[in-house]
Symmetry: C2
DNA sequence: GCATATCCTCTTATAATATGAGAGCTTAGA
DNA sequence: TCTAAGCTCTCATATTATAAGAGGATATGC
């Protein structure tokens, strides 16, 4: 195994602490929080400050520096996510001979970041496009894991247009469905967009355990038996975990 | 002088290179670009990857990881900038007994991040508020340093409402004014908002030398003699440099 | 299908470098 | 003036990063 540069890890931990403190904690406090001797912490913040990753307002008030924002200049986190996820999606698509999607929630809509077609192309989504959230597997997963306040706002805004007999159009019913999704840990699109199309979707978590994306497999309705769903959910979750580990290593590592 | 943690500096340089490469360069190339032996670079990216600061799409394709975005969660870069700048503004305000502003360009408007009142409060700006760009000192500085394409778009869109006899309302005249501002390195608001109010403004640069904010001093028109302006510009520029050094240390340091 | 190149990973001896205890400084406030 | 909080510095020590080079994996070309 490749050895790690420990000072770098310490510095990052400290940087995270600085970010979280938002100017409210002195170096001594920060040092204690991340279990570093004060003098070490001091050396590290000085270095970070020299790099512009940390700025000091005045004694006892540290902030993440503007240089951090700058690192992201010209970079689309969505694009990065899509690229890194692609091989995982491709695997799933090939294995199930079905269509796999990766999506995020943005502005009350679902944005599809990546799509891999394993069998017939039954779904007419395109990468980068946005669709309503209330009627798809990924959409419902993402809604379910929204902070309560935002979820309720979504529910109160509607309207939820009926696309098939199975579409959930009643806010209360949708709320129940979302709760069920949280409990079960996955969502089913039971032909809610098209009678002939079903799908199962699971959440992807970031390092804080917050849902940041959703992963789904869609196929012809008749293939979605109970056993199929059970197996698929297991595999999806596994893959989801692998993807999270790749994108947000702190979840499991160290 | 506090000693620096060199491995951290190397790692940051490498991280910057990764960010700039946007997935287009292999580790060997990146290592060369930042003058690191391949094996060292390898150890460092592995560590960075373990922290989620770098993700690998596949061999030879590295990206900044989503964790970087996450560091900025709940943090307003503007707020940080304002806080760090405050002491500098306060100094200037006290020294000149005039009003000092820090502002950025955003969505074709100028956002005032910080205001410090040294003498009489002659200007009715408030922190966080937005104003038109074409008629103020900071506004013109920021417009002048826009990329040409954006600047031309601004000029073509108008309208530039006349507020006083001195307001520049003709796009061509405004274009000339902006060129002059680039040449001179500072802007004058020659009573373009209020007859009785003048101001001088200078740009603030980030580590890449790009103008990212503007700093101004405003006062009663009769105080703005040629000599006063000359002196003020010198001092403003000096302060601006100090502020940049604080916010973007790479400008001068290392 | 083989050859070649590219890119990455690992091992290891060596020395550089980070480490952290503690002492001392600076500043703000009482 | 005194106190305390917060920061900075020094320095002996050994941990730790270092980088050359060899080897492995994967892609590219013929």
């Amino acid at each position: 195994m490749t050895p790690r540069t420990h000072s770098l890890e310490k510095a990052f931990t400290l940087l995270t602490a600085v970010a979280e403190s938002r100017g409210k904690q002195s170096l001594s406090v920060l040092a204690e929080r991340v279990n570093l001797p004060l003098s070490t912490a001091h050396r590290l913040v000085s270095t970070l400050e020299g790099l512009g990753l940390v700025v000091r307002e005045k004694k006892g008030h540290y902030f993440i520096g503007p240089v951090v924002t700058d690192l992201m200049r010209n970079i689309s986190p969505h694009d990065v996510m899509a690229r890194v996820s692609r091989p995982f999606l491709r695997d799933l698509a090939k294995r199930f001979r079905m269509t796999v999607h990766l999506a995020v929630y943005e502005g009350e809509m679902v944005t599809y970041l990546a799509k891999e077609i394993g069998g017939r192309n039954t779904v007419k989504t395109t990468e980068g496009s946005q669709l309503e959230a209330y009627c798809s597997g990924v959409g419902k997963v993402l809604l379910a894991h929204l902070p309560e306040r935002e979820r309720e706002r979504y529910l109160s805004e509607g309207p939820f247009v009926r696309l098939t007999d199975n579409t959930i159009t009643d806010p209360a019913a949708l709320r129940d469905e979302l709760h069920r999704i949280i409990r079960r840990g996955y969502a089913i699109d039971d032909g809610e967009i098209l009678e002939t199309l079903k799908c199962v979707a699971v959440p992807l978590k970031n390092q804080h355990g917050r849902t940041c994306a959703a992963l789904s497999i869609s196929g012809r309705a008749e293939e979605f038996t109970q056993t199929f769903i059970r197996n698929t959910v297991t595999i999806l979750k596994e893959t989801g975990r692998d993807m999270s580990d790749r994108l947000y290593p702190s979840v499991s590592g160290l």
